[in-house]
Symmetry: D2
């Protein structure tokens, strides 16, 4: 029997409506390389929902591509980007940013989130020009890689701090839907208002493939298509990227799918707590990180797919459980049942 | 009324069977980042058809990505790649190869094809180490960007020459289907036998998106997935790439679609010749380059989409007409009719 | 017996006065990394002589370094530099420019010189954004690698053309002294007035090591020291670079040495012509390119060091003879004598 | 009156014998770009003293150049280098390594030294190929940037660990002389035996400019001159680099100068301790880091040049005092006197 997967939010397929949109987009002749009518319609909807009429929207096929494009477009050769130690660009993109020539200044954090005070430390340390890189951009993820989210006031503070210090603020939104649909005070329009650029993740939220880069800052956007082409990110039949995002934002689909994933994670969380399972971070989105006895984790691996995140000590392991738009209540119940049994035995 | 397009082979959609394959692949949980079952099945079929059991196959989403990955994986920082002046990597990839740090040594050719004699000139000119780059790879396209193809003996000669001179031979197969289904003596198995690496174009032959890189040379393939991830080319839901190529090669679909495009170009050619239209290259695939009076070209732009390729003189223009898997006989007839009329008037 | 060298202008040592300047600069504590008093005095003198008060001056230790720094400082990732096919950056810097990520658009020329008409062809060919690089800089050498020089009106035309087309104009002055002291109408002040940046070669004109980069364009100069440090071009004990250039321009030494080299080349030329030796370019500086029978060249290699430049045909070779600040009349006479003898025998 | 400098070991000039060597090397015609007779003689002496007959020696003009050349020659695009957080390549080279495309994996250390246990942590964390870089080299400095040194057994352990884990070991010897002449059990021959590559710093030890790269590992050395040329590190008149190192190692000059600097630092240390000045690292070479009241530091800045290294708390500052080959006993006494006075007042 196949294992039940709580491994990630991209091992599952695309939502049926996304597939239907792809179908519809398949007909007839369309302009290529981002100039198709579907991409234009998707751009329009995104601009409206995120209240970013003066921004530009570009569709690419992976998050790593989005990150390396925006960051290398923004920075001069000697400029660097500041990121949390847990940031995707630092840990899990095989040196993609450094491969474009730029250093990442990393900051240790408990919850994956940056703050003005933490960033100030990096700035303070860079006091001997021209012998050190020049920090010029702040990279944050929302939701973060640890499942946490920024509150509106946290993001406002970061935004203000960045402007005051002539730093670009860039938000990796691989799981932006999850951040915007959890119990939080942040809205879609805040994202565009408070950052210079961000991307809206499609792949991890029920899309087939594709991320939508939104760039408000004109300097970062200058000749961006040239860079996309150079890095192999410009897709000939771009209609299939546009069609997915048009469908996402034509109705409320994008937010519904994200909310559904969040809801399932919340259920999981609510059922784990009575079992006395410990957590050391507060997760409000579709990733939770329970701490379990190693023996329990070992037994779980027989029936479930998930990541072991960290060894806490000889007896305890922290694991990562990820829910997605199509995680069922039944799957959650089977998991809870097993954990309950293993904890008792 | 919409114009009829002879502009390229990627402004049209995907073949219905490709879409059906995407649909089937959408179900259930699959491994990600190239480890899905569809990619594995597609790899198996490609290895069989191209007789390259000991090669590795990697799926990416654009031809520029394929080129920059293979070339930067093969070359050390001071090594260069030799290409025809018309080569896609030189002309139409916005400096993608140089952006990975490598020089392209270009050669002027009439027909877009390289030969040992032409390459020898480049080698001869690089005689003052370490003050010049070290040519280490030869890049060819088949079919070429000018619609021409290599004969088997031409490719054999190139292959032998490259081995003798310690040069890798890499073949850009954006239109490999077209090269393999025209009236020529070259077979799929020859491609793998005679090169170190090549890619099989999906996008321009009725696919949605996707190119299959095949690497025979172990040195070029070493840790190739790391490089893919670093350059943003590793797609999370890789099943959709795999599924397309499984469908292409499960039956004969890939070659049928390419042959169909070639056939339509041949029809066009055969109908243009009686009108006394001139050509200065021999095109055997789905791209033809008729030379027409400027006035005729001007009139054609009202009803047809196509590229003006080159200004021959004040009165004559060379245009590019491209057919694809779904170019109809009717579209060809309408074009021929118009040209005939304009030439007579 | 040691061969007499006409091989180049850097196999000989530094002028005694340069050595004395190094000696004087050795005393005491000095600021490092370009902030020493010698560099500041040298900068001042250069600004005066080249009439470039609003420019910035940076000292580096090789011409390749100067070129890669200026060009990579000026260009965005997708921008390219236009150069003659004979340009040092294209032929003899082992892909230094491409290693910073930039394409060189090359132009075939007979005499190593660019003109608006030649550059216009490159611009015309780059008509399909964003699929092609964006030419943004023109690189010229003066004197060129073929010993030719730009007249004032040629440089004025280039300068105007570049401004009109939003192209930076950068002049490689590895042999700038030679260009400014030959029989020509161009002055030191014209160089700064008509370009965005240039460098003044020290190594090939009697220096120990060192080139002075002069940047007029503020955009190219922005944070230039950061880039210097990053590329390993910022020397700790910069006083030794500054001291050489202070000495060069404190009196007229720089121009005297260059003129001396030119004069010796002219003598050589004047004595070769009566022997009926052929030339296919007009050389006004310290490099001349006589065409001689292969048998004569073979015999000359016994007693002289020089480069064989090009095979004209089975019987004729073009060689390169370079004079320097300390080439003696006697050395010239010995060479002429030998050539005369070999031609007669 | 000029301040007395304890700021660094490169604000002072070159040793007179180095200047004399430069003088002698100035005569006559010499091969260029590393092929001169002085470089060859220097290479020979270095190989003998460091017992590295099968290594290759290359002379460059800055330590940043040495580091970026060796590291980028050793690593494939997706490979990384491990370094202490205090490592020069991480902190003070303006992203030079990242600019060649490579990530630095940093490790926090108290004393600037790496150990197998610390490196193992980095290896353990890199467990999800191909989503993370592949650590392939370990970079250490000896003496470190904090003035500490490796003992023989520490270096042996590191060397063994690296070999077992297929990691290259590279030693930055900007202050190698200081490390080899302090009270320690490590010898010149150990350096070559235990590393894959290292460089011998000239600039900070009484040279004019220049570092000698020694590469034992053939893979790292392959076509190294090409890379040097490409990065602008190949000096035309290389005789001046060779001559300095020939002089350094012809007699015992290199080690005498380093020992002298160490001795002066030791004197300083010995005179500070009776004044109850605190230290939080043990420094055995020419850099010491006393912790002093802020008020004392403020007063010292009137008469002395030095770096403020770190703010310990509101009242205390850690400063860096560097001695060099020509720091006099008198200068030390003046400094000690002043500190004594300021502490008492």
């Amino acid at each position: 029997m196949k294992k039940i997967s709580f491994k990630d939010d991209y091992s599952t397929g695309a939502h049926p409506r996304i597939l239907q949109a792809i179908h519809r987009a398949n007909k007839g002749i369309e302009e290529s390389y981002g100039n198709d009518s579907y991409s234009k319609k998707a751009e329009k909807k995104i601009k409206k929902i995120f209240a970013c009429e003066n921004s530009s929207v570009h569709f690419v096929s992976s998050g790593t591509q989005a990150n390396l494009l925006v960051i290398s477009s923004a920075l001069k050769p000697y400029e660097s980007v500041i990121a949390a130690h847990t940031g995707h660009i630092h840990l899990h993109e095989t040196g993609a940013i450094e491969a474009t020539g730029h250093k990442i200044n990393t900051i240790e954090t408990k919850d994956g989130k940056l703050s003005p005070a933490l960033i100030q430390k990096i700035l303070d340390a860079h006091h001997t020009p021209p012998h050190m890189v020049k920090p010029k951009m702040v990279y944050i993820s929302n939701a973060t890689e640890l499942g946490t989210v920024y509150t509106l006031s946290e993001l406002e503070n970061l935004s203000l701090f960045c402007r005051q210090n002539h730093l670009y603020l860039y938000l990796d939104g691989a799981r932006l839907g999850n951040a915007l649909t959890t119990n939080n005070d942040i809205k879609a329009s805040d994202i565009c208002k408070l950052t210079d650029a961000f991307y809206i993740g499609g792949t991890k939220n029920g899309g087939m493939f594709g991320e939508a880069i939104v760039i408000k800052n004109k300097q970062i956007n200058e000749n961006f298509e040239y860079l996309m082409k150079q890095k192999g990110a410009l897709i000939a039949k771009s209609r299939y990227l546009g069609a997915q995002f048009e469908e996402f934002f034509h109705t409320n689909l994008y937010f519904e799918l994200a909310k559904r994933a969040n809801t399932q994670a919340k259920k999981l969380l609510d059922k784990l707590k009575p079992l006395n399972v410990k957590f050391d971070t507060i997760n409000q989105t579709n990733q939770i990180f329970p701490i379990l006895p190693s023996s329990v984790v070992r037994q779980l691996t027989k029936d479930f797919d998930f990541h072991i995140w960290e060894k806490i000590n000889e007896d305890l392991l922290k694991i990562r459980l990820v829910t997605s738009w199509n995680t069922t209540d039944e799957e959650i119940d089977i998991l809870i049942d097993k954990i309950d049994n293993y904890l008792k035995s």
